[in-house]
Symmetry: C2
Subunit: 419 residues, 2 copies
C-alpha cells in the first residue's frame, strides 16, 4: 500500500470512528436568531451550496421570497425580490450556519430550531421544524395564508411545548431513539414513524407536568408529533449535522461529510477538503408520486436531508424499512440489494445503527469518494419529491451523480498527492 493510501485509510478510520461514537443530544428549542452562528435578522438560509439570488429559480426562489415575507422583511413579492437582489436581505447556505435544510430548507430569524449537541465532540447541529402533513409547505416552495398559519402554529404552539418538555427533561439523547427506530421499520429519512412515537413517549412524562399550564398546546403538540412519518426527520437531520460535522476536518480523510442539492446542482463536502462544495448535476429520479401527479411535474428545489445518508441512515438503511415501499415504491428485494451494495463504498459498519433483516449488521457508514469512483456504486438517497407548482408530490429513491465525486477526488489528489 502506498504511503498516501495508508494515510488516507487511517484518516478515514478516524472519520468513521467519529461518525460512530457521536452521541447527539437534543438540548433545547430556540429561535434561529438566538443560536445559529452568524445568523442575522435579515438573512434567509436555504439548501445547497450558496448561489447568488439571481441563480435561484422555481420553487427554491419562491421559497426564499416566502421566507422573506413570512419574516416581515418585505411587504410583498416585488419588494422582497428587490431587497434580495440588492442584498438588503441576504441569502446564505444552511450548512454554513450549523443547520441543514429540508428540501428548500428555508430558515428565517424567528423560526424555532432544534439545538442538538454532539455530547462526544461538543459541536452542535440545528434543524427547524416539520411544517405538518399538508403537501403545500414553505420548504416545498409554497407561501400563502395557509402556509403562514401553519408556520405560526409550529412557532407558537408546537415549538414552545417541545422546548419546555426538552428543558424539563434536561435534554433528550437521540441516539437510543434512532437505534430503536431502525428496529421498527424506520430508516430515519423518509420514514420516521417509530422515531416520532419514541420521541413522543420520551417527552410524555414531561408533557404531563406541563399540561396544567399549557393544556391545549400539549394536546395539539402530541397530535403534531405523531400525525405522519416526518416529525422526527428534523431531529434525525439535526443529529446528522452534529454527527457529520464531528467527522469533518480530518486531515487526509476522503469521507463525505455532507450531501445536498440546490435547484441548480447536487453537491458534496469531504472531510479532508475543507468547506468547499464539489458540485455536479442532479441525479435522475425514481419516484412514487401522490395520486393526481405526473412525472413531468418533478422539479428540484434543493435539499440537505441526505445528511442522514452521510451518517449511515436513509438510503443506507433501506433494508430496515420495508414499509417504505408503500410510500416511495420499489420492492423489498430491490431495497436489500441496494443496501448491500452500499457496503462497497463505505468505510465500515455502524456500531449503533443496525439492520435486523441483515442479522443486525451495522449500516454501511462513511462514504469514501474513492470507493464510489472505483466501484461505480453511487450513494442512494431517500428523498421527498417537489412539484413544479410547489408542494410535495411524492417520494423516491435516487442515486447521487458521480461528477462531484470525481471533482473531489481531483482536489484530494492535488492536496494530498496520490495517483
Amino acid at each position: 500500500m502506498s504511503q498516501t493510501s495508508e494515510r488516507r485509510e487511517k484518516a478515514n478510520a478516524e472519520a468513521f470512528k467519529r461518525l460512530c461514537e457521536s452521541e447527539p443530544v437534543l438540548e433545547d428549542v430556540r429561535p434561529g436568531i438566538e443560536v445559529l452562528p452568524g445568523m442575522t435578522p435579515e438573512m434567509i438560509l436555504t439548501s445547497g451550496p450558496p448561489l447568488a439570488f439571481e441563480e435561484y429559480v422555481g420553487g427554491q426562489r419562491d421559497a426564499i421570497i416566502g421566507g422573506a415575507l413570512f419574516e416581515g422583511l418585505a411587504k410583498d413579492r416585488d419588494e422582497a425580490e428587490a431587497k434580495l437582489s440588492s442584498g438588503a436581505i441576504t441569502v446564505d447556505g444552511c450548512h454554513d450556519h450549523g443547520a441543514v435544510g429540508s428540501l428548500a430548507g428555508i430558515y428565517t430569524a424567528s423560526m424555532p430550531v432544534f439545538v442538538v449537541r454532539n455530547a462526544t465532540y461538543g459541536n452542535i447541529g440545528y434543524c427547524n421544524f416539520y411544517e405538518g402533513t399538508n403537501p403545500r409547505r414553505l420548504n416545498y416552495g409554497v407561501y400563502d395564508e395557509g402556509v403562514r398559519e401553519r408556520l405560526l402554529y409550529v412557532q407558537d404552539v408546537v415549538a414552545p411545548v417541545v422546548g419546555n418538555a426538552v428543558r424539563h427533561a434536561g435534554g433528550i439523547p437521540l441516539k437510543p431513539l434512532m437505534t430503536r427506530a431502525l428496529h421498527m421499520g424506520d430508516e430515519l429519512h423518509s420514514r420516521n414513524t417509530a422515531a416520532s412515537l419514541l420521541f413522543t413517549r420520551e417527552i410524555v412524562p414531561h408533557l404531563l407536568d406541563l399540561v396544567e399550564t399549557m393544556r391545549d398546546g400539549v394536546k395539539r403538540t402530541v397530535e403534531a408529533l405523531t400525525e405522519d412519518h416526518y416529525f422526527f426527520l428534523r431531529l434525525s437531520m439535526a443529529a446528522g449535522k452534529a454527527i457529520a460535522d464531528a467527522a469533518h476536518g480530518v486531515e487526509a480523510s476522503s469521507v463525505v461529510t455532507a450531501m445536498g442539492f440546490s435547484c441548480k446542482e447536487f453537491a458534496i463536502r469531504v472531510s479532508g477538503l475543507g468547506n468547499e462544495w464539489f458540485t455536479g448535476p442532479h441525479p435522475e429520479i425514481h419516484a412514487k408520486l401522490f395520486e393526481g401527479h405526473t412525472e413531468d411535474e418533478i422539479t428540484w428545489m434543493g435539499g440537505e436531508s441526505p445528511i442522514t445518508e452521510t451518517i449511515g441512515l436513509g438510503g443506507f438503511a433501506q433494508a430496515a424499512a420495508f414499509p417504505l415501499q408503500k410510500y416511495q415504491g420499489g420492492s423489498a428485494e430491490a431495497m436489500v440489494e441496494r443496501n448491500l451494495g452500499l457496503y462497497d463504498i463505505t468505510v465500515g459498519e455502524n456500531t449503533d445503527f443496525h439492520i435486523p433483516y441483515l442479522g443486525y449488521r451495522g449500516t454501511p457508514t462513511g462514504i469514501d469518494i474513492f470507493r464510489v469512483i472505483e466501484t461505480g456504486t453511487r450513494p442512494a438517497m431517500d428523498i421527498g419529491i417537489a412539484g413544479r407548482d410547489g408542494g410535495q408530490i411524492g417520494a423516491g429513491a435516487v442515486r447521487a451523480s458521480t461528477p462531484c465525486f470525481e471533482k473531489a477526488a481531483e482536489a484530494y489528489k492535488a492536496r494530498y498527492g496520490g495517483a
Copy 2:
C-alpha cells in the same frame, strides 16, 4: 370435488371471512368477577383444556396455588392445595370463561381484565394484564411477596388509569393499531413493542385529562405500558379471542379457532367441532434462553397466547418482525421461509394484517386441520419459555405437534363424513 369437501371449503371461507372482518374494540377494564362469564369468587382460571387439580404439576400447579393465595382464598400453600383438591376452590380453563391465558394464565376474581368487543359480530374476549418486566411472574409459576406487589401494582395503579383512559376515549379500536404495528417490526405475539407505543399514543390525550386527579398513577402507567415488548400482548390476545370466537361454530368448518397448552399437553379447538379440545404431545422447542439458563431447565406450564397465531399473527407474521431474532434466535431467512410455508395450511391471506417484506402480502390466516395433515406443515408459534424453577428463561419458535390435528380430522369425518 366431493360434496363434503365442497361444503367444507364453503364453511372455511365463512370462518376466514369472520377472522378478517372482525373489528376488536377495547371497551373497558374491569375486575374479572364482574365480567367473565361464569366466574366465581372461589375460581382460578388457568391455561389449556381443564384438568383435575391433581393433574396440574410443576409451575402450572404452583401458579394455581399462587393465584389462590393472591386472592386470599387460603392462608398458606397447604390450605390452598387442600381446598383445590376438595373443590372448595375450583379450577377451570380460561377459554370457557371468555378469556385466554398467557403462559400458566392465572385469573382470579379480583384481577382486572381487558374487555374487548368484536364490533362486527358482538362477542367479547377478555385478557388480564402483563405483570411487568421481572421474569419472576405469577403466570410463570412464581408467587412470592415481589410477585404479589407487582400484581397489586397492576391492579391498583395501572389498570385504573388505563380503564379511565379507555372509558374517557369511548373505546379504542385495536385493529388499526395492530395493522400499523405489523409495519413496525411487531408480530403481536412475542414482539409488541410498536403496538404498546401506538396504544400509549392513543390514550395520551386522555391521560392528559386524567393527570390532575391521578398524576403519579398516570406517569407510572406510561412507564408500565412501554417498558418492554409485552404490554400490548394481552390486548392482542383479547382481540385474538374476540376474533377467533367469531369464527368458531361454523358448521362443517375445519378451521382451527384455538390453540393452547397445559402443563400436560398441546390442544386445539376446531370451528365446526364444538367446544371439544383435541389434544396431543407438547412440541419440541427451539429457544433462545436468557443468560445463565440452560436447555434442561425448559418446562411447560401452559399457554393460550397462540390464539394470536390462530388469527394470523405471531408465528404467522414472523416476516414482519425480523427484530425478533435478537429475542428468540433464528435468522431472517428462516423467518421468511417459515412464514411462506404457512400459506400452505391456511385458508387465505388476511385482508388487514400485512407483511411489508412480502410486498404487503396478507398474513396466512385460518389454519385448516386437513391442510396441516396433507402438507405435514405444522403451525409455527412464537412463545415465551418457562423454567423448571419458575420464571421466564427465554423465548422461542415452536411447531405444533400433529396428533391433535389427526384426532380432530377423525372427529370431523365422523361428524361430517368424507374419506
